[in-house]
């Protein structure tokens, strides 16, 4: 044994004496993600003075190496420098892989962009972090409103619901950090439960092209992502304080990120927002305060080829609803409509009284991914959401402090995704998703349930492939199938059950009959298919043409199926229909985009044809002991939306630029040939910007926003007899308000407080001229003017 060891030692010493130093090391440097060749990478051999650069094909050659081990450092402009140990024995070939760009979990980074493209053949609008920060004291809806083609359906000034190309609620899917928001989004007066300050990047995809997020986004998909932690040792943070004169409140948000070279990172973020009553130019909008508290925590490990992440956020928001909007029946509505000012105007206060909403949303997510060499990335995600919605009405007696609506919606989702690069030109994204959702309506409210108790199961499967046919032409095709099973327990009023003939149609659903109510157990199945076909053609140096056709199917939501009774916040009776089937939208969209240094623009015409479109409309007047109420019934029809969105910007000089936006959408009910209700009026925004990066990045902007009057609307007016005047009065609930023009001013300057700290001070004024106006898309427009002038002071500290 000893002799054997000795022999080896001897032999090896012979080798080292007679070692050959004429060896060549050659090979390639490639990108770890997609295997693309990296040119211009530098290789340095430790211990010798040798260095080499890769050529255009990513190839390198290093000569005059001896047999043995070498340490070689490989670096590239956009990569993290990495060290390798190479054993040379004769002429050796070796390939090195570098992380070509920093990639984070849940992100597919494309062409060096920090945030990935979500759909390759649908034009995307994004809002950057800098722009989002200007909306720090506002809401997600306010920020989205700044994009062309997006408006918002408002309930007063606090509930801002995004409206994409004329569609909203269940037709717009919101993805928050990779999680589809399940926050009772069906309601027109339910705002998205996302803290605008937790968002690092906001992307809007108009249409259903991004199938990985769902097949039911007939309107569009909004993707909110947290900002990314870099893969290096660092600790940094940001604090933003915004004080506003209107509402006499402020918003404070802070975030701190700690990251390590080895890939671990942690991030904590919190927001506190408090406003009292807001004001119109001429009066206080009583009971419109807001109190919002949010926090989020993110923890993860991000490596080249695998990673895990845990994320948790809580969103809690208490919002007052304009006192003057709380009404009884049609008689009260007439009084409100005939009055130029709200019927209730009190002194300014921070107190939020009934009617109000109090919403809490918890979101927890764990996700892991693993990359397989030359194949792709596999990720698995589980998320849990818990949404509690309380709505308080003005009530009497013992019930005064009790909520009228108390809904608890819990959702569990499991997602498995594969992102594979099958060849250099062909990429396939595919995945499977399972979801379980349960809704519990607390009976202790003493008010009949607005949304019944239900369990819902979803199973979805999708695949999207894109293929780069030539350098100029990219094709995309995708399909998705979703199965939904809904198991509900719903109490119907016996009178309603019979008036709808449900007693003939669905006798098998009855579980139990009470004196004036019937307990039923509807079990509904929906099978939905969706798909997309598209192409992107690049021509010239700076022009692109996007074409996309998508078909989307959406199962009716619980509100559309089960509504049955008085909706206090709208002072109307709303009736759903158990017999609804899924609505199916076909959208064709075309975008021409041109981007040069001085002039860029995009034009996006589209046509969205929706069969079995579910619309709610007034049908009749119903008498109750409380007076007359308008009845709004959901029905299915065929709808068509046609529109165009235009964005343009022109830089006159290095510092001056002009931005323009124009959106037009027309919506029609093709069965009755009438316009659809609540379609955004034509609007155009023009902004003059001065920015000088050499002068403390000083920036001034003046924006003019013009909203035309909506001239196409369905006439839903009705008449009511008033005993006190013995007259029949018209209740005009459909005529849209006049056109209006708003001026907004914004400015900011960066101040370097110390080497590592940058303070940005900003001053803004919205509605500079203090214009009194009413917005057609504000559900409370009958009762009060919209917001008056607002002075904002922004203070941002980056450290």
């Amino acid at each position: 044994m000893r002799n054997y060891a000795l022999l080896i030692l001897l032999l090896s010493s012979i080798i080292s004496i007679s070692q050959n130093c004429d060896n060549t090391l050659s090979g390639t440097v490639t990108d770890l993600h997609d295997g693309s060749l990296l040119s211009g990478a530098t290789l340095i051999v430790a211990g010798t003075e040798q260095a080499a650069l890769t050529d255009l094909d990513g190839k390198f050659t290093i000569t005059n190496l001896c047999d043995g081990n070498y340490s070689i450092q490989v670096s590239h402009l956009y990569c993290l420098t990495k060290g390798f140990t190479v054993t040379i024995s004769g002429n050796t070939t070796k390939s090195f892989k570098l992380e070509h760009h920093l990639e984070e979990l849940n992100q597919i980074t494309v062409e060096g962009k920090a945030y990935g493209v979500k759909s390759k053949t649908t034009f995307e609008n994004t809002i950057s972090k800098e722009e989002l920060e200007r909306f720090s004291s506002g809401s997600l809806g306010d920020a989205l409103n700044s994009l062309s083609g997006v408006s918002s359906l408002n309930t007063g000034n606090t509930v801002i619901k995004p409206l994409v190309n004329g569609l909203h609620s269940s037709r717009v899917v919101i993805i928050n950090n990779g999680v589809r928001m399940e926050d009772q989004e069906w309601g027109a007066e339910h705002a998205p439960n996302i803290d605008i300050n937790s968002v690092g990047n906001l992307t809007l995809i108009k249409g259903a092209g991004a199938l990985q997020y769902g097949g039911d986004a007939i309107g569009g998909v909004i993707v909110a992502e947290a900002s990314k932690a870099p893969m290096k040792d660092s600790l940094y943070g940001k604090t933003l304080l915004t004080a506003a004169s209107n509402g006499r409140g402020a918003s404070l948000t802070s975030q701190l990120t700690k990251s390590y070279q080895n890939g671990w990172y942690a991030k904590a973020q919190g927001t506190l927002k408090r406003f009292g009553d807001f004001e119109a130019p001429d009066y206080v909008l009583s009971n419109t305060g807001i109190f919002e508290r949010n926090a989020s925590l993110q923890l993860g490990l991000n490596r080249f080829d695998y990673g895990i992440e845990a994320y948790y956020s809580i969103f809690k928001n208490e919002m007052g609803i304009l006192s003057a909007s709380h009404l009884g029946g049609a008689e009260d509505q007439i009084r409100a409509l005939n009055s130029n000012t709200p019927l209730i105007i009190n002194d300014f206060t921070y107190t939020i009284m009934a009617p109000k909403q109090d919403v809490t949303h918890h979101l927890a997510r764990v996700k892991g991914f693993k990359k397989f060499d030359g194949f792709g990335k596999l990720s698995l995600q589980y998320d849990f959401q818990s949404n509690n919605r309380l709505e308080f009405d003005i009530r009497t007696g013992d019930d005064s402090d009790k909520a009228s609506v108390d809904l608890q919606l819990d959702t569990h989702t499991l997602l498995l995704d594969l992102d594979a690069h099958l060849t250099d030109a062909l990429r396939l994204k595919t995945g499977i998703i399972g979801r379980y959702q349960t809704n519990f309506a607390d009976p202790n409210t003493g008010v009949r349930r607005l949304i019944p108790d239900y369990d819902k199961y979803d199973l979805g499967i999708y695949a999207v492939a894109d293929y780069k046919l030539t350098d100029h032409l990219l094709l995309e095709v995708g399909g998705r199938f979703d199965y939904t099973y809904l198991d509900a327990f719903k109490f119907y009023r016996t009178s309603f059950w019979e008036s709808r003939n449900y007693d003939q149609l669905f006798p098998e659903l009855i579980v139990e009959e009470f004196n004036n109510q019937i307990l039923t157990n509807p079990q509904l199945n929906y099978y939905n298919g969706s798909g997309t076909v598209g192409a992107t053609y690049t021509f010239g140096k700076d022009s692109k043409l996007f074409f996309n056709y998508s078909i989307a199917s959406r199962a009716p939501n619980p509100s559309e199926l089960f509504s049955e009774g008085l909706h206090h916040s709208a002072s109307r009776i709303e009736l759903g229909d158990l017999r609804f089937n899924s609505e199916v939208g076909h959208k064709i969209s075309l975008t021409f985009q041109r981007e040069t240094d001085t002039f860029s623009f995009s034009v996006n015409p589209y046509i969205n044809t929706i069969s079995d479109f579910i619309v709610i409309e007034p049908t009749e007047i119903q008498q109750t002991v409380r007076g007359n109420f308008q009845v709004w019934e959901y029905r299915q029809t065929n709808a068509q939306l046609i529109g165009v969105d235009v964005d343009a910007s022109y830089a006159f000089t290095e510092n001056f630029s002009l931005k323009n936006q124009f959106s037009l959408v027309k919506g029609y009910d093709r069965t009755t040939d009438k316009p659809l209700i609540s379609m955004p009026p034509v609007n155009t925004k023009n902004e003059l910007i001065y920015q000088n990066s050499e002068l403390n990045n000083i920036r001034f902007s003046l924006q003019s926003a013009y909203y035309f009057r909506q001239n196409e609307y369905p006439d839903t007016n009705f008449e009511v007899f008033l005993p006190e005047t013995e007259t029949t009065e018209l209740v005009d609930v459909s005529t849209p308000p006049d056109a209006y023009h708003l001026l907004n001013f914004n400015s900011s300057i960066d101040l370097n407080a110390s080497k590592k700290t940058i303070v940005t001070v900003g001053i803004g004024i919205t509605n500079v001229l203090n214009t009194s106006y009413r917005n057609y898309l504000n559900r409370l427009r009958y009762y009060a003017d919209d917001l008056g002038r607002n002075f904002l002071l922004n203070l941002k500290i980056n450290y």
Binding site: H326, P443, R449, R493, N516, Q622
Partner: protein
Amino acid sequence: MKKVKFLSILLLTTILFAACSSDDDTPEQVNEEEVITTMTVTLVPNNGGSSITLQTRDLDGDGPNAPEVTVSGNLITGTTYNGTIVLLNETVSPAENITEEVEEEDEEHQFFYTTGGGIDVTTAYSNFDDDGNPLGTEFTLTAVSASSGTLTFTLRHLPTKPNTGLEDAGGETDVAATFSVTVE
């Protein structure tokens, strides 16, 4: 190691899914607590004689059925009646008396009486809130001359008090019921 992590996540989610999917209890019925289904106005002549009842009754609340309105008889010229108003929620059993709630919160409520269509009667409040402003669950009605028309009772929640009538009372309408009445 990595496999272990994935497997443990998978296991965890499976447990969670399994844990929350066995909840088949039927929900309990909710009877509206604040619904006013029935308003009964009783008019008792203060010179004796038979009393008259005006009633509106809507047992399905804001359901599709309209309220049933009944008037038991005609008023007699020259007679003064003592009126009382009773509000009931008959969706619950036994029926809940809402008048008591209204009278407890008298400062936040007020009844209004409106005549229409040429009926010749006068009304006056008989009960008042703690501030001395009218409440109106009790009132007097005088049938002045032979005529016919309508009599409307309106209950407002959170009206401006004092006020000069429905026009400037504001608030929210809790009850609005019109009866066709004849004075003979």
